[in-house]
């Protein structure tokens, strides 16, 4: 009897536990992916685990191959980031391989540059010529005259090409594209909490406050983040408020869309900080976090001093003040600030809508401040430091030459005071200017200098000029607007035909290791450029130690802790992804106390001015004395020697700096900014061009949609079929005052030129703004993007697959390349335009 009663007790107790899924009567779950079959023959399609590269999110995927042909790309159910889900863009990747207009051979220009006359040449001919030119520069002691400019290059591709090949060659004249992407946001984060990249912990948050991010359509970690946000909104009824000039799909899924005047998000964020401080809403979690924040010049200020400094700084930033600037009612600002501050954990997110402005740097810093004041930094449910895998890889064998560099990647002197991610959009202008030298060889890889930057007409003019750029090389799988202006085109493999290890951050704070492998062999004479680098290096006499990227990836798998033990390369090839099942999500990394032995290690000194412990030997300082006398802040590369931050009596690992010599505090008071003559605390600066706008003038804003990445997916027929036109959004009020009706052809004029497009009159955009997506208007890039191709087909099978003829208009023709004066971010959202009916 006793036993019977115990059973009952157990049964009763178990009722509280979550036992779903075990009972016999429950509906069996259908398997979510991992397999696929041909709907025609029923035959199973071969599954090849690999990694997407349509956008920077780089999601693990599975390629399904049928009869030697990639039929479909599906999600990777084993991925802890995507949980097996996959966006439209990733699935449209099938079209990349099958693009009928892709490049299959190396081509050499004949005739005038840009005249469109080409000769197919062999790889040997191409590489002999290229190696000849590269070798000559290197032997002449001018490796820096070889400029390498990349758009998308990450993980193993970046390591092998940049850290091994280019380092082995000796050039540091390397351009990237971050400043036309999100560089401004990164710099602001480097100034506040060290390394860049914030992860938004939607899995644990209770409130989402969004400034200008469209993460449900496009984001650096799109699918991984989007599915978690939806889960939070739908399953846990998390409230979300979005500030944006436009009703993006993200704004549409938010509980509240708050239209804001273009470039004034910073004012709203500061006013919210003011409300939080004034109403004492920082108390609790925010107060705890204050200890790790720097709000004053003095490193060891007391809690009270910090608060006093804050109150003084924020005093004028009232919601009423912000209402005048942003157009958002003061009451709205106040109530959202209160909701946000009282919903711990809450996450404030931001992206280009808020940051790609003249004042973007401090907008992002103000947003960081709002997160800090409410204690939502690196906590479950808040704004977290990114966690990604740490791959080890084979280094350049032997001694690297001392690298040289042309000073053309950081813009003109004084153009941006802290360009930690360079000024990619100024590179061509710098070349034209010529004062800091010009490259003899300008090579670009996975990049579209003509199309992706503003000032398109000028880009074309410079790239065309053989006096400015004597020799140009384009590495791309597709003939695009920029390739048309190259001297040599090398056909690159698409991402589905090459090897890589990958390292995107995890939204769940647990690192995921994954690789990319070819789903089908590259057609024609297509070669992965990293393999070409191995070849080139051999020709130039500095072999890289690996003969191919595959070898590089294989060796990396054997070198990397965890992956190696799991089964190394063979495991990764068959599984695609790996994560440490024992790993716990990483939060509060800054709270770790630095071990005493680390502080007494060789070369570690403490810096009185900042309270930072640092190892001068890892910096550019020549001696301990030099280090001490110059101090942490003023020693070049001091951040590389950072060990810990003294707060009170304890040395914490704190917020480790990257790229700038900031302290280990969460720096809202930035000495670095102060020394550059900039406001130390986050400050609102109005956008000069927007202050004296005439009645007929609008601010042009650009955006992305869910089915396209900026410039490299328009050749995907399945994607362009869904999105191929980009009419300009106009608020009915603006339209009325301009005399424009829905569907009217319009002319959009900026100081740079005129864009002809059509109007879409919609209340989904704020008055005073004209919104044009920047995916369309290709004039090369194959039949689906531009419509350019020779007629094909016999009478029997007519060529009528592409049913749309309007390929949209590209706004970059009329957007100037202008930098945020602090971090150099391209100011995509600031252009003032006039609109008229055509």
């Amino acid at each position: 009897m006793t036993q019977r009663r115990d059973f009952l007790k157990l049964g009763a107790a178990a009722a509280g536990a979550s036992l779903t899924g075990g009972a016999l009567v429950s509906a069996a779950e259908l398997k979510k992916g991992g397999e696929d079959f041909s709907p025609l023959s029923g035959a199973e399609r071969t599954a090849v685990p690999t990694t997407c590269w349509q956008c920077v999110s780089r999601c693990p995927v599975i390629g399904y191959v049928e009869n030697g042909r990639l039929a479909k790309i599906g999600g990777q159910p084993a991925s802890i980031r995507t949980e097996g889900l996959l966006c439209a863009k990733a699935q449209g990747g099938v079209n990349q391989i099958h693009d009928p207009d892709r490049l299959l051979y190396p081509f050499k220009r004949v005739g005038e540059r840009g005249s469109g006359q080409w000769k197919r040449i062999s790889w040997d001919e191409a590489l002999t010529e290229l190696a000849g030119r590269l070798g000559k520069l290197r032997e002449a002691g001018h490796p820096e005259k070889f400029m390498f400019h990349y758009g998308r290059m990450k993980a193993s591709s970046s390591k092998l090409i940049k850290s091994v090949f280019l380092a082995g060659y000796g050039t540091k004249t390397i351009g990237n594209h971050t400043s036309i992407c999100e560089g401004g946001k990164w710099t602001a984060q480097e100034l506040t909490w060290g390394s860049h990249y914030d992860n938004w912990d939607f899995d644990h948050t209770r409130y989402v406050l969004n400034f200008g991010s469209n993460c449900l359509e496009a984001h650096t970690n799109h699918t991984s983040v989007a599915h978690r946000l939806v889960r939070a909104l739908a399953d846990r009824r998390v409230k979300m408020v979005t500030f944006d000039v436009r009703l993006s799909n993200t704004a549409a899924k938010s509980d509240q869309w708050v239209p804001v005047r273009s470039g004034t998000d910073g004012a709203v964020a500061l006013a919210m900080c003011q409300v939080v401080v004034e109403q004492g809403l920082y108390r609790g979690k925010g107060e705890e976090f204050l200890k790790f924040c720097k709000f004053t010049a003095a490193p060891q200020a007391s809690q009270k001093e910090k608060l006093d400094a804050l109150k003084t700084h924020l005093a004028s930033y009232t919601p009423e003040w912000a209402e005048k600037i942003s157009g958002v009612p003061a009451e709205t600002i106040r109530s959202i600030a209160i909701e946000f501050a009282s919903s711990y954990p809450a996450v404030v997110i931001s992206y280009r809508g808020a940051v790609a402005h003249y004042n973007g740097n401090d907008t992002e810093r103000a947003i960081q401040m709002l997160a800090a004041l409410t204690g939502n930094i690196d906590n479950p449910g808040g704004r977290c430091k990114a966690v990604g895998p740490k791959w080890k890889y084979p280094k350049f064998p032997g001694k690297k030459p001392k690298a040289k560099k042309l000073k053309i990647v950081d813009g003109f002197p004084g153009q941006a005071k802290l360009p930690t991610h360079h000024l990619s959009h100024q590179v061509l202008k710098m070349i034209k200017d010529g004062r800091n030298g010009r490259p003899d060889i300008y090579m670009w890889y996975c990049y579209q200098p003509v199309y992706s930057n503003g000032d398109v007409a000028e880009n074309i003019e410079i790239l065309k000029d053989e006096k400015l750029i004597p020799y140009s090389v384009c590495i791309t799988p597709f003939y695009d607007e920029s390739a048309a202006l190259a001297d040599l085109i090398l056909p690159d493999a698409t991402y589905l035909e090459r090897w890589d290890w990958e390292d995107m951050v995890s939204p769940n704070q647990v690192a995921e290791y994954y690789i990319r492998q070819p789903v089908t062999p590259p057609p024609g004479e297509v070669r992965d450029f990293a393999d070409v680098c191995c070849d080139l290096a051999k020709r130039l006499g500095f072999p890289l130690g690996v003969d191919s990227k595959e070898e590089f990836v294989r060796k990396s798998c054997e070198l990397t802790h965890g992956v190696k033990e799991a089964g190394g390369f063979a495991y990764m090839k068959s599984h695609g992804v790996w994560h440490d099942p024992a790993a716990k999500p990483k939060y509060y990394s800054y709270r770790k106390v630095v071990k005493p032995e680390a502080l007494s290690a060789d070369g570690v000194v403490s810096d009185a001015a900042t309270g930072v412990y640092w190892n001068w030997k890892k910096t550019k300082a020549k001696s301990a004395d030099e280090a001490r006398s110059k101090g942490y802040t003023h020693t070049k590369n001091a951040y590389k020697g950072y060990v810990g931050q003294q707060i009170g009596d304890t040395v914490y690992s704190g917020f480790k700096p990257d790229k700038v010599n900031k302290s280990g505090y969460f720096e809202l008071y930035s000495t670095i900014m102060e020394e550059k003559g900039l406001p130390a605390l986050p400050t609102y600066v109005p956008i000069p061009e927007h202050q004296a706008m005439k009645d007929n003038e609008l601010v042009l804003t650009t955006y992305k949609v869910a089915v396209q990445v900026h410039s490299r997916t328009q050749n995907c027929k399945w994607l362009s079929e869904i999105y191929h036109q980009n009419p300009a959004w106009l608020n009915p009020e603006s339209a009325r005052s301009l005399g424009v009706s829905d569907g009217d052809p319009i002319r959009v004029t900026s100081e740079r030129g005129v864009l002809e497009t059509r109007a879409q009159v919609t209340p989904a955009v704020a008055p005073g703004v004209i919104a044009i997506s920047f995916h369309c208007g290709h004039w090369e890039y194959g039949r689906y993007a531009s419509g350019k191709h020779a007629a094909t087909g016999s009478a029997e099978v007519p060529d009528e697959v592409k049913w749309w003829t309007d390929n949209g208009a590209h706004p970059n023709w009329i957007i100037p390349n202008r930098a945020d004066p602090i971090n150099g971010q391209q100011r995509w959202m600031d252009t003032v335009v006039q609109v008229s009916k055509r």
Binding site: A27, A28, L85, V94, V230, N249, A706, P763
Partner: protein
């Protein structure tokens, strides 16, 4: 050398195999249904597959549309599965809702009623409405009859085509392609006749709706929080814009 035989091998999977496949599936689907979907206690109950789309979870990302396009290599200009955007309101009170669309696998499919050759039929074993491309003559009667514009003539096969709930996957115990990929996990697929299936439970406990109930077709695709607004509402003077993302730009 048996050259004829070699010729045959050189052909792509033909429509015949598709037909044989459809037929062969009859048996296997019943098996799968019995083994995987139905509880043992209700083994005699026929299966009616259905889908529930929670539009609150739909972010309009078109992942489903492209998944479908890839799964079946649907020729450009045609869609088995698509997502409509419904934008409405007056500034600043504006909304944009998303309405994923596919064949409803109706209980009373008008397309089946009008088919003169019996090429389209509702499978008894799982309630999926399918088209046998070898029987279909492409008369487009079903295309006209479908109140949901879910059908088209496939230019390659010359036969009517539409969503078949990924029968080739479902019969092997794998979710339809659109369900697998849905970023918002907005789609729930399962047996509507099983009261314990996830879909049945969700339908029982949520306010749901179907499209065009007045047509009397009794759809088996249900929606939670669907926005039924239509451009016809513009007649009242309010702003509604429906974007279908299809070659046929207007909803019909």
């Amino acid at each position: 050398m048996d050259e004829e035989g070699l010729m045959d091998k050189s052909k792509a999977p033909s429509q015949n195999s598709r037909r044989a496949f459809l037929k062969g599936l009859g048996a296997s689907a019943t098996l799968a249904a019995a083994a995987a979907v139905r509880p043992a206690s209700a083994a005699t109950r026929p299966v009616q597959y259905g889908m529930l789309i929670d539009t609150r979870r739909c972010i309009g990302c078109h992942a489903c549309s492209v998944a479908c396009k890839a799964e079946f290599d649907v020729p450009l200009g045609n869609t088995r599965s698509w997502v409509e955007y419904v934008e409405k309101g007056e500034y600043p009170n504006v909304s944009r809702n998303f309405l994923p669309r596919l064949c409803n696998h109706c209980r009373h499919p008008n397309c089946v009623d009008v088919c003169p050759t019996g090429a389209t039929y509702k499978r008894e074993e799982d309630g999926i409405v399918v088209v046998d491309p070898d029987r279909c003559i492409g008369c487009k009667y079903c295309v006209q009859a479908c109140p949901y514009d879910a059908r088209f003539i496939n230019p390659v096969t010359g036969a009517a085509d539409k969503c078949d709930f990924c029968l080739h996957r479902v019969s092997r115990g794998i979710a339809p392609a659109c369900v697998e990929t849905c970023i918002g996990r907005a789609r729930i697929f399962g047996d509507l006749n099983d009261p314990n299936s996830e879909i049945s439970k969700k339908i029982a406990t949520n306010p749901v709706s179907v499209l065009r109930p007045g047509m009397g077709t009794e759809p088996n695709v249900y929606y939670i929080a669907a926005d039924h607004s239509d451009e016809h509402e513009r007649r009242r003077g309010s702003y509604v814009r429906v974007t279908t993302h299809r070659k046929e730009k207007e909803r019909r």
